[in-house]
């Protein structure tokens, strides 16, 4: 059987943590792993970070225009490189980028795909994976009946590998980009350097009880005090208190941080589906009967406008 190819997520200076999580898991299962870094301007630091986590074979895929991400460019370049390799599996992070190019690449191989997997098994003859469906209300096992298997892996679920202190062998390949019709013309940075929900260890979310966009400041302040990402319930987003990019739940993001603090969120089934795999859940709500308390490890019955600022102060003392 063929090897496993991991397509790295990177921002030119750093390899994203999800790539290292995938690498650690694939190596642990004893598979022969290659990491492909597409369009790096300077491979040095990226190769170092991969080598330290145990990557031995790293491919620098280079081509005119590949430093700006497009789904066609990535799919064409990766297809031209991988088509002669007979990969067993092609794995990447279930990120904005990974979820965008992987279906196109899988189509080029007439192959199957599993999105947003929380575990994978590349040790046997047949590749399989487990992935949540219905926003995490249940999960399914996906078994690939023929190769190659295309998988994207949810960030923050697999353990990050320890430093092994190795160094990677880098092979530079010039790739054929082919025809790219969609061109990236601009990247608009987010409002601030906020931590993304999918990668956050701690998330502090606000619900409809916040009552206004201005009041969300208590959530942002608390999140900042502990280095957390700020989230919101659908009710808060629909009321215009927070942007949709902050929404946690079935029509928003599914998250699994170490700590999820729900402030003024009653706990609708759609919201619970999106955060139920958090390691620890804290609920702060005025209503002692709110359903969120039945899922929370720790509950505080009280007014969030009183409790959350106190929590912010307590977090500041910890740091």
């Amino acid at each position: 059987m063929g090897d496993v190819y991991i397509v790295a997520d990177h921002n030119q200076s750093d390899i994203k943590r999800v790539t290292l999580e995938i690498l650690g898991e694939v190596l642990k299962q004893g598979a022969s792993a290659h990491v492909i870094v597409v369009g790096a301007k300077d491979m040095g630091p990226l190769a170092d970070q991969l080598g330290k986590k145990g990557a031995q074979k790293v491919v620098a895929l280079q081509g005119e225009g590949l430093d700006a991400y497009t789904s066609e460019g990535y799919a064409n370049a990766l297809h031209s490189y991988l088509s002669s390799k007979q990969p067993k599996a092609v794995v990447t992070g279930a990120t904005a980028q990974g979820k965008d190019f992987l279906p196109r690449l899988a189509a080029k191989f007439s192959a199957g795909l599993a999105t947003d997997c929380v575990s994978l098994d590349v040790s046997g003859d047949k590749v399989s994976a487990r992935r949540p469906v219905y926003a995490g209300k249940t999960s399914q096992k996906v078994t690939f009946l023929q190769g190659p298997a295309f998988l994207s892996i949810r960030p923050n679920v697999l353990p990050a590998p320890a430093d092994k202190g190795g160094s990677a062998q880098v092979e530079t390949i010039s790739a054929n980009l082919g025809a790219v019709k969609a061109k990236l013309v601009e990247v608009q940075a987010g409002a601030s350097k906020k931590i993304d929900l999918s990668e956050a260890d701690i998330i502090i979310s606000g619900g409809r009880s916040l009552k206004s966009a201005e009041n969300f400041k208590v959530i942002f302040d608390c999140a900042e005090a502990i280095g957390a990402a700020a989230g919101a319930s659908r009710a808060a987003v629909d009321a215009g208190y927070a942007p949709h990019s902050m929404q946690v739940g079935q029509t928003g993001r599914t998250v699994s941080p170490k700590l999820y603090i729900a402030c003024g969120i009653s706990g609708a089934i759609q919201h619970l589906a999106g955060m139920r795999t958090s390691k620890i859940i804290v609920a702060i709500n005025k209503d002692p009967e709110a359903p969120i308390f039945s899922k929370a490890d720790y509950g505080i019955v009280g007014d969030l406008f009183e409790v959350v600022p106190l929590l912010t102060e307590a977090f500041k003392k910890l740091r």
Partner: protein, 258 residues
């Protein structure tokens, strides 16, 4: 402009999921079916785009069992001009579904294909990418805004990426865009629209009509599992200040997450 909107029928998001005895899927007996919410945004964007470009039409397309016709009628009631149902059983995988969609789109013809960023049942978020590749169209996903050129021959799609950042991609038509919540507010079906939709003739295609049906699935889905039920933990006592102090202590010393 010919606009095709891909529509999937999924269980209502309120649905309490129960598994089939053999764990190969969910029990659908008492499920209430709806248009996948992201696809509703796609239908609305199709209608808006049509109304801004005289002479345009919107065709809604769904692959699936016969019940999908109801989702198509809902979209027609919102204002879609035509509806196409590709009869496929529910066991088609993403690859097979996308093949069927691509062949059907070729038959219908499209300058713009719109879809939701993912279906709210299997959450695969992959049909758009497969379909775009099979059709040779540029594409992007998680689109929250579309700016058209004056001649409607090209557009700029604003797509959300991590951390609230956005990428803006320019592409010519024909192209395929998978849209996110926030791009618009879907209209409600009007009463005359609902009456019209009841009588609307829905074009039916079989996989054989599309020259498909001989290829098997690429994946097999088994061993559905319910997540472990979370147990209610402890409610903390005392005034707000005491509760917060106790919470921080528990998070640090008991849960070890701080």
């Amino acid at each position: 402009m010919k606009i095709v909107v891909l529509v999937k029928q999924v269980p209502d998001t309120e649905t309490k999921i129960r598994l089939k005895g053999d764990a190969t899927g969910i029990e659908t007996g008492d499920v209430k079916w709806i248009i996948s919410p992201y696809d509703e945004f796609a239908v609305e964007e199709g209608l808006k785009t049509r109304d801004a470009a005289p002479g345009s039409t919107v065709t809604v397309l769904s692959v699936g069992p016969d019940r999908c016709v109801e989702a198509l009628r809902t979209a027609v009631a919102m204002g879609a001009d035509h509806a196409v149902h590709v009869k496929g059983d529910t066991e088609l995988d993403t690859y097979q579904t996308s093949k069927a969609i691509a062949e059907a789109v070729k038959k219908v013809g499209a300058d713009l294909v719109l879809a939701g960023k993912q279906a709210l049942d299997d959450d695969q978020a992959a049909v758009f990418g497969y379909t775009a590749e099979f059709l040779g169209m540029p594409s992007t996903s998680v689109v929250v805004k579309i700016d058209w050129s004056a001649d409607k021959q090209s557009l700029r799609a604003h797509r959300e990426i991590e951390g609230g950042a956005k990428e803006i991609l320019e592409m010519p038509t024909p192209c395929l865009l998978a849209v996110n919540k926030g791009i618009n507010t879907p209209r409600y079906a009007s009463l005359p629209g609902i009456m019209k939709a009841k009588k609307k003739e829905i074009q039916t295609l079989t996989l054989a009509d599309l020259g498909l049906g001989s290829e098997g699935p690429r994946v097999q889905l088994t061993e559905f599992q319910m997540p472990p039920e979370r147990q209610a933990g402890k409610k903390l006592a005392g005034d707000a200040s005491a509760q917060v102090t106790e919470l921080v202590r528990l998070l640090r010393d008991e849960a070890k997450v701080l």
